[in-house]
Symmetry: C2
């Protein structure tokens, strides 16, 4: 194991098979599958690594001292302008365990109430997307949605009888 790079946020190491990977310091994230009646509240944002706009769940990193549930409520409010009532834990996703130590804790709510406006950070350009559950599943099936966290959340919600 060889260290290739170290910054405040990450180390880049080389694994025994020669593949470089990230150890991210703040490696826990949260994301919320929020349902409001027949609609899911999703977001769309540009992702530089793939050079494309992605439809995905609202979410983000867990701040220092925050619980997972506090983090998911804060990120949901910041990114969409909505508040949520009770949330249910759907599970932990390892999105790319060959490349990064990051994990995403995914929650579900069907209690959404309108609040105000998004509270985005300077670098964030996020569009809120309301999409019916049916349309979302069709878009996954027909290869128009590719995001790992959103697909994981939909699968967990199906297995738990929530959709």
């Amino acid at each position: 194991m060889k260290q290739l790079l170290q910054t405040k946020q990450v180390q880049v190491l080389e694994s025994s098979n020669g593949r470089p990977y990230f150890l991210v310091n703040e490696h826990e994230g949260v994301a919320l599958l929020a349902r409001n009646g027949d609609d899911l509240l999703l977001i769309e944002q540009f992702r530089e690594p793939i050079g494309e706009t992605v439809i995905q769940l609202p979410g983000g990193g867990v701040a220092n001292g925050e619980s997972l549930e506090e983090a998911v409520r804060r990120e949901f409010l910041e990114e969409t302008g909505y508040k949520c009532g009770s949330v249910q834990y759907l599970g932990k996703l390892q999105p790319a365990s060959w490349r990064t130590n990051e994990v995403t804790h995914v929650f579900y709510t069907d209690e959404v109430c309108g609040y105000g406006s998004q509270q985005l950070e300077a670098h964030e350009q996020i569009r809120v997307v309301k999409m019916s559950v049916h349309d979302c599943m069709q878009k996954i099936k027909h290869h128009e949605i590719h995001d790992s966290e959103l697909c994981f959340a939909i699968l967990q919600a199906l297995l738990n009888g929530l959709l």
Copy 2:
């Protein structure tokens, strides 16, 4: 966009929000959801970035000049020792679009035939895991399986009426 590191395999760049990310040269991978009767043919291997053993789909990178289908057949044979008949394309996953440009093309087959033994590379330690479709879905639901590619494949197979 600032370059932090360049190796033969990857560039590490810094995005406009200050987050480091990978641009991997050979960024397309393949994975196979292989069903043999009631059983899925999965693999288990240690992933250094997360320091854990992961249950996941057989698969790997696409070699130069190879089609996606050729790659998935080769990886399946190498990692499990099994050959497969016809395969069906289930879609393209973006596992961690905030961190890497990698994508995984996921296929399905229910035509599996025994062949010989695994043909692993020196660094690979892979155990073949036969697991019933039912057990796999229960393990996802009960937070024992966390892998993005496997969960994506199960969701696509459900949406396409294959499981």
